[in-house]
Symmetry: C2
Subunit: 704 residues, 2 copies
Amino acid sequence: MDLTKLLKPKSVAVVGASEKNGFGGDVCRNIITYTKDMSRIYFVNPRRDTVFERKCYPSVTDIPDVIDLMIICTSQKTILPLLEEGAGKGCGGAVVFASGYGETGTEEGIRQEKELLERAEELGIAIMGPNCAGYVNYTDHVYAFAFISAERDRRGNIGVISQSGQLCLSMMECPSMKFSYNISAGNAKGIQMEDYMEFLVEDEHTKVVSLYIEGVKNPSKFVEVLNKAAAKKKPVIVLKAGRSNKGQAIAASHTGSLSGSDASFDALLKKFGAIRADDLEELTALSLLFSTIPRLPDKAEFASMNLSGGETAICADVGYLNGISYPDFTSETLAALKEQLPGYATPNNPLDMTATLSYDADLYAKVLETVMDDPNVGMVLIGYTLLYEIADPAIYYMYEGIKKVAMKKGDRCKPIAIIPFAENTRNPEYQEKLFRIGVPVLPPPVYAFKMLKKLADYINFDYSSVSHEIALPQRKSDQTYALSEHESKMCLKEFGVAAAEELIVTSRREAEIAAEKMPGAFAMKIESAEILHKSDVGGVLLNLKGAKEAGDAFDLIMENVKKHCPEAGINGILMVPMLKPGLEMIIGVNNDPQFGPMIMAGMGGIFVELFKDVVVYPAPVNKAEAMRMLQSLKAFKLLNGYRGGEKYDIDALCDTIVSVGNFAAANKDSLKELDINPLFVYPEDEGVGVADSLIVKYGEKRRC
Amino acid sequence: MDLTKLLKPKSVAVVGASEKNGFGGDVCRNIITYTKDMSRIYFVNPRRDTVFERKCYPSVTDIPDVIDLMIICTSQKTILPLLEEGAGKGCGGAVVFASGYGETGTEEGIRQEKELLERAEELGIAIMGPNCAGYVNYTDHVYAFAFISAERDRRGNIGVISQSGQLCLSMMECPSMKFSYNISAGNAKGIQMEDYMEFLVEDEHTKVVSLYIEGVKNPSKFVEVLNKAAAKKKPVIVLKAGRSNKGQAIAASHTGSLSGSDASFDALLKKFGAIRADDLEELTALSLLFSTIPRLPDKAEFASMNLSGGETAICADVGYLNGISYPDFTSETLAALKEQLPGYATPNNPLDMTATLSYDADLYAKVLETVMDDPNVGMVLIGYTLLYEIADPAIYYMYEGIKKVAMKKGDRCKPIAIIPFAENTRNPEYQEKLFRIGVPVLPPPVYAFKMLKKLADYINFDYSSVSHEIALPQRKSDQTYALSEHESKMCLKEFGVAAAEELIVTSRREAEIAAEKMPGAFAMKIESAEILHKSDVGGVLLNLKGAKEAGDAFDLIMENVKKHCPEAGINGILMVPMLKPGLEMIIGVNNDPQFGPMIMAGMGGIFVELFKDVVVYPAPVNKAEAMRMLQSLKAFKLLNGYRGGEKYDIDALCDTIVSVGNFAAANKDSLKELDINPLFVYPEDEGVGVADSLIVKYGEKRRC
């Protein structure tokens, strides 16, 4: 549905306009405070002639103009008739604050919501909400927002969409935050989060898209929009509820969102270079950072400049804990700094400039320029605790120094940010002044360096090496069935996963004959889709040799299985050459109901389970992505010649991951899960070996 | 040296009193602003009759009073004569702002510092500094501080000591921070950090001791004070530079502090339950938290109450990421909440109260009381973004509600803290009001939950189960030498570390005879303190049996060693029964030059090296501490019956750690390092086995 009339209306009716507290009054107050041109804004209330000295119309129909947007401040029962009325006036969008819909979880609420959305669709009216706090379009001065905030100019380039009105308001109340749009999406069942996202990614006034979401409703559009944003290099910053089980439950009960697996969601963001924030403060501060700096750093290399040794040590330590890279200064930079700084200073990165320089704007500018001009530096971090009430004049000089450099360098000025060391201290006047020359004031170090690491990852993200496809699933059944080991391996083999020559025998005699063709030792395993833990029932014998042992093994396995699983359907016994042991990896797939098959890779059992050293990534993947998956594991070092040891066949391992991803993508609608455990990885150029494999699918049992 | 005259003077002379900017002027301005009783404060300046309309004396000698403290604002060259003069007036303390001493790193500066301190000692004058910013004693209104800060009442119970004047000032400037003392220690070579610490731990007005340190100068006093603070249950919160190599270098160059190993320092803090902050904001906020809450929670179990679903989800998620425990509410609590909350709310912990309650103080108080009365809850966290400029009145009602509960409950009121969701938003008036009823406003979630986890650890810390001794070393030599494997094992055996029967043979014949007495297979290894990598030179043969193999092995090993290490001194060949394999652990010791032997425990190679799954703890340890060391490892699960697997002999492993600790403590002055690698841990009741061991000592080679 087209959102133009909803989000960029030329004429607006406020239905339920009022002077009292509450939706009607607060919206009118907001509009009067912020709107520049009131000529096509109409207040509607049958019980009043005027509201805040402006004419009030008895009904929408009475307004002598076409109406693009209705801001409906009245209660649930009035909504449907109002939509009918609005449609007659050309209305194409409505903000509905009223609650009592799907979020109640009641049958009646859900029915009402469905009826509302169906009617709106028929009438061609895009509904924001219900149960929302509305929105502000700062670019065009449309103020359809129901909460009162402190008065200040907020027009800027951050586009916010939030499933919580409270969090919208909190972002508005942060000094220096400047928005293109701030949208409280509410239940967002008609016009969805993903529709607003698309709008903002395309909106030329929006530089950063900033989201609080409780769940994704339209996965395919979500993926499409992430893809689009990555292609445009427009940062998308996401705070999503549901890292914890309790968080998931709260998100589900709050706006009735279906929250998929958090690991899948996280993997999806990573794939498209979207940035995940851990809380609202980080979402806000990251948005401010991306919004304020005039351009991204060319490289993720930071210089840190401070006024005291203590502060310099904090930047060194907290930077290090967060993986921030402080390159060494070149000898030219060091020589220049030696001249510019007092004799007792020791030039280095992070740099303790000493406090004396903060009282000399020219010298401060000179040092800043020296540091910025170092070819190893991508961005300059200035440590300074900007107090709320400024008692010490240092910031006056520092500001002048920074401004001087920013003006002199123009477009060539590398990005700068301020890091304070304690909070509740940012003087609004100077925060604003710094903002206007493109210098954001970040939160204190624990937040700041966490954020800068995310900025670094964003800079290093290479969209061109990412496969753009995602295998969004359409599950057709809730029934599941397993494939046997042999069936599983054969399915994977079709997609290029290495498989040993193996065969199924159904009698002692066949086993004896087969044994003679085996090149070396072999294993025999019961072949049945109904026996998943083969060893537990005596269904596996290893390291066998020759016809006699094969025959005996056949009889013994059959006897064991008959005893333990008399009912199980059996295909025979699988005879497979013993694999030589290698480095043990696990490759798995879990099919996320929203985002499709997620490939999981990690080293054997305890590495995955105790150390959580595992990577998850959406299928399919290309080889570069497979390589990055492996590189993100701590265990990667073991693959890559740890302590002068063996280098393993990483190339073959990447090929296997790509093949598994292709298989999973091709079977996205029917695959439940897949496990290759263990996958032996052999030394360089010697490939990999699938020691066991299991596929579980949705649907009625059949061969894949 | 007694610090009374320095830190609690009855009469004060400000030498170099002035009206200009700079030390002399700023100290006078501070004193005039804050001092209640000026009757025994004397300004000294030979060139002025008055300063700020107060009489100025030409010299200290001219003051008609005895002088406890001199605040010396004049330059380096005046200091020594002033000390002489002050001594004649009974002076026992002096604050020296002047720089140019040891911090310059020059010979002249170091000489000057030495002279200053020696003379002060002779005269019985306790020196703060040099190169410091002075201190404030808020309890007795002594304002000997050289930086100007915004005027407000800061009298409270946080005692700060900082090696950075800048960081002192930043803490002073944080709203609601209330101090007993705030001490900028400067070079702190005479009166040291540790002396101030001792003073504050003993000071009855100080509830929390808060430190920024760049290095410890007096390890034995540092340990003594930590011990004392732990015994008194007075929290010590420490920000220490040097987590990173760059941070260590900066700390070393800033105040010339010697920074020991950060891991040792960290281990020491853990042992005594001291709390480590990651940056200044955390140090400040942790201090405020401990300072403000009227008592500690009885248990580390939190309830979270919020006004919106989004905020509740953030508390759930960020709490979870930080290991915060939200117990389920009892059925009684849930039933009461169901009655008190609106119908659409879903009572749970964390709790979304919905916003409606924040406009009804009585109902808010009722819900808060219900949550607080839940027997599972130790502390209540109220999520609320306290804005700087309050536009929405909710906080009025919430504050009244909280106050009502605090008043009603009195001493039985469980601790409460406020968590805002975005920063730069704490209204000073309400922050102060909340502070006065014992409710701190924490920083946003990423900081807040990190801090609350540290509070939880502090509550759970059990000083009674900690051994109070620390083996502080006095290294007597820089030379080092290694013991052979057998020597190492024998040294450890004396302290109770299990050792197999093993013997050294020096001829083929001896080897053959010994072989016949071996109960099973055995290993033979070259026995030499000069060959540390025995396998690399063909000095190890495993799984031998019988006299013939023993004899051949003897010859082969001797031949190999003669070829590869013709110069090495050799004791013979060690014959040792093959140990059955077990779970492989590493136990090590590194002797920290400041804090003595640190025991290291972890699972074999890659666990320690790739996953950093290793614990470090000061020697000696008791068995409870050994157990906690193991429990802190991720690999502990593997010892303790992972996935229904074997349970290993944790008891014997703890005994081994205790024994190693005792050995290390007994050899604290001579031990360099020790390695038991691997230590095989066997199933329950089957003990452990030392497979190899190496001890390196300081000094001339001799048997331990």
